[in-house]
């Protein structure tokens, strides 16, 4: 009980501090607005919103404002994806893909206003559930993570890269692993972290400091999207927004069990390293379909179905921040972009993070979710107008934003060359259905893996047994081995046979 009270008073202090500063609201309102607009425009994603804002706000303003801008955009963009999903049947972001199943049929029946209102409320409650989980679990895990040493850190980084590669592959799992390894390989460029030995610099002094995170983020997430999006897209006829947007409290109360369940599912999925909001939405939708009394109507315009995905994708945000803040492993692609922003602010997420930053993150999340809800309920028609802008008009502006954002982070023109190179490689990887997020996670965690792996070996004087000498490390190693083995054809056949016998 004392723990909870301490937490709440810490959160209250941070909340009061931030909410009493008028500048907070300037950043909060503008970033949430930008986030919703990015989410609402098909072709722009939450990851892209954070990536671009990192270039602008990453290290140029005080840390509090920088976090407000980035977290506000994150919360707004995940919610904003529901607009085109409900009114156009085109998911604004991948996170809203499951929303289309019931959102569009509802709008077709003239219940678009009701669907948007409920989506907004569900997103608010979902974000708050994720934030409460963040406030509680981050501290429990931080206590545990104090005992984490180099072997565990190295294995955690490897596990994060492999897990994101496994779960994010649309085609072969091996492609996700290759993407993660390419990211790890990119992190090897520059002076090594222990002995300052130059690696793969080819005599170019710029490469001595390694690949910078922001140009890699811009290249990996923005450039392929610009190349892919610059094509004529016939946007279908937008459905008229009918009915009132402000939700009925009775309806919300009736669907509260669905919202609560979806919030817990979204937070749990988000807490898995490397798994994003889209997976959270689908998992919650799948569970809802099998347990909800309205399950048979899922896909035909069910309110329950709509709430399942929309609550979960926003709850995923809080969940995705748990491994990011506690372990330094991003829980989703936007969280990977957020980690890049933390890194350029000299904040190293992980067991050594300043607890005050976590409290501020929680306070910002609460403020951002209420700002999002107010904007969603009262200015929805503004965002619906934004939906009409063709992507061939806004993507060229995104290219200019990306260029100036990447240039100003510090590396100058060389950062632009790096962004361009990474961008074209990422485009081809997208074309060949390689997931890009594991590559970025590999670049971000590569340095940590390299340093902690070699430090473990140095401490143990080359004894590889150091990776099974501690309980935490042993568990992680077993999980990594199990993850790899579970994807080998031989073991998959074996598992399938065992399952058949059990049935």
């Amino acid at each position: 009980m004392e723990f909870v009270l301490t937490q709440l008073s810490g959160f209250g202090g941070a909340f009061l501090d931030l909410s009493s500063d008028p500048v907070t609201y300037i950043y909060l309102i503008s970033s949430v607005f930008l986030g919703i607009a990015f989410g609402a425009l098909p072709g722009l994603t939450a990851t892209l919103a954070i990536t671009i804002l990192t270039g602008f706000f990453g290290n140029k303003i005080p840390l509090d404002y920088s976090m407000i801008a980035l977290l506000g955009a994150y919360v707004g963009a995940i919610y904003g994806g529901s607009y085109p999903t409900i009114l156009l049947n085109i998911p604004g972001t991948a996170a809203s893909a499951a929303t289309a199943m019931d959102g569009y049929p509802l709008a077709k029946r003239g219940r678009g206003g009701e669907a948007l209102g409920l989506t907004t409320t569900a997103s608010l409650i979902g974000t708050l559930i994720g934030t409460v989980a963040l406030l509680i679990f981050v501290w429990v895990l931080l206590l545990v993570s104090k005992n984490i040493a180099s072997p565990e850190k190295a294995l955690l980084a490897l596990f994060g890269i492999l897990l994101s590669g496994t779960l994010m592959s649309e085609d072969l799992v091996i492609k996700g692993w290759i993407a993660g390894l390419i990211g790890l390989a990119m992190a090897m460029v520059g002076l090594d972290p222990l002995l300052s030995e130059p690696r793969y610099t080819f005599g170019w002094s710029y490469l001595l400091s390694g690949f910078q995170v922001v140009p890699v983020l811009m290249g990996a997430f923005a450039v392929p999207q610009i190349i892919e999006g610059l094509r004529t897209m016939e946007i279908g006829k937008m459905l008229q927004l009918e009915g009132r947007i402000l939700p009925n409290l009775k309806t919300i109360r009736r669907h509260m069990p669905t919202i609560a369940r979806s919030g817990i599912i979204g937070t749990s999925v988000g807490a898995l390293p490397g798994v994003g909001e889209d997976v959270a939405g689908w998992v919650s939708y799948g569970v809802g379909k099998s347990v909800s009394p309205d399950g048979k109507n899922f896909g035909k315009g069910s309110i329950d179905g709509l709430l399942c995905s929309e609550t979960a994708n926003n709850a995923c945000i809080g969940g995705a921040l748990i491994p990011l803040l506690v372990l330094g492993i991003p829980g989703s692609p936007p969280a990977a972009a957020l980690m890049g922003a933390f890194t350029i602010n000299n904040i190293i997420p992980g067991p050594t993070i300043d607890p005050d930053i976590i409290l501020r993150v929680v306070a910002i999340m609460v403020m951002a979710s209420f700002t999002m809800a107010i904007m969603g309920l009262f200015t929805a028609r503004v965002f619906i107008k934004i939906l009409r802008i063709p992507q061939t008009v806004f993507l060229p502006i995104v290219m200019v934003l990306t260029t100036i954002g990447s240039f100003s982070v510090g590396g100058g023109i060389n950062d632009l060359y790096l962004m361009l190179g990474v961008g074209f490689v990422a485009y081809f990887m997208n074309m060949l259905r390689y997931p890009i997020a594991p590559l970025v996670i590999g670049v971000i965690l590569g340095g940590l893996f390299d340093e902690t792996f070699r430090r473990s070996l140095l401490i143990s004087e080359g004894d590889l047994g150091v990776f099974i000498s501690r309980p935490g490390a042993t568990v992680l190693l077993v999980m990594i081995v199990a993850l790899v083995l579970s994807q080998l054809p031989l073991f998959r056949h074996l598992f399938a046979r065992i399952r058949k016998k059990a049935v």
């Binding site: 072969l172 390989a185 690696r199 190349i227 094509r231 004529t232 061939t392 060229p396 140095l458």
Partner: protein, 256 residues
């Protein structure tokens, strides 16, 4: 029969994907083998490393890269085997296997030229407002309707000033001045805007000049004077004037 689902497109997609996987695996094998060879340049056993004399293999900076590139090589071989088993090698050299599409190839090549020459040729050498204005005009005009002729026109409009800037002012010492490349970029921008204006004057066509001027202007001013950050080519034709006016005439208004 109603349950029949036409999977032909899926099967074709997989065939194209495996053929591309075949090529990708070969590229990955070559790249990982190359970097494994480069890793041999980093001392592994018993050398003096960065002034630290240590004979142990585990303190070497080559250990992790060796593992990463070896794993990449092994996975690439797995991918190659998977692609060959799925028939990727057989279709690898056919148009279907490569997935060749003329319009898509023109689209990608022209975007590549526009973005590539913008970053490599224009941004370092030409005023940021001018080159970004040309970029925005070229991308909206070229790709809004999906007409390949427009794409090629846009690519040419970007290519000419970028090539000129690269040819005449390649070394970094010549990036700041003179402004001949700035003027050429401005001329090409005006010409392309004129071409865009001659076409059907829909809402997008009317918006192009406004967006092309306002977006880079606001961004560069916000970055330079709002966030006080470095911006590309401060001595560019237009930005140098803006900066002069800002510090000499505008800023003193509130500084005094």
């Amino acid at each position: 029969m109603d349950d029949h689902v036409d999977n032909t497109n899926d099967i074709d997609d997989i065939a194209v994907l495996r053929a591309r996987d075949f090529w990708a695996a070969l590229v990955l094998i070559v790249v990982s083998a190359f970097f494994l060879w480069r890793t041999s340049y980093i001392p592994l056993f018993g050398d003096n490393r960065a002034g630290v004399s240590s004979a142990s293999w585990y303190s070497s900076a080559a250990i992790v890269p060796l593992g990463v590139f070896s794993a990449l090589l092994i996975l690439s071989i797995f991918l190659l085997v998977t692609a060959i088993r799925a028939g990727g090698a057989k279709t690898a050299l056919t148009a279907v296997g490569i997935g060749w599409n003329r319009v898509e190839a023109i689209r990608f090549a022209t975007i590549g030229i526009i973005i590539g020459f913008y970053i490599v040729g224009l941004v370092p050498r030409v005023d940021f407002i001018l080159c970004s204005g040309l970029l925005i005009t070229a991308l909206i005009y070229g790709f809004h309707t999906g007409n390949p002729r427009r794409m090629i026109t846009s690519a040419i409009a970007m290519f000419i000033p970028a090539l000129y800037a690269l040819a005449m002012h390649l070394p970094q010492s010549e990036w700041a001045a003179p402004h001949d490349d700035d003027w050429l970029t401005l001329v090409l921008w005006i010409i392309l805007s004129g071409i865009a204006w001659r076409g059907p004057r829909d809402a997008v066509a009317r918006a192009i000049p406004v967006i092309a001027i306002m977006a880079p202007f606001i961004l560069v001013c916000a970055m330079a004077f709002g966030f006080r950050q470095n911006v590309p080519n401060r001595s560019g034709l237009i930005f140098s004037q803006i900066e002069y006016q800002y510090y000499v005439n505008i800023r003193p208004i509130w500084r005094d």
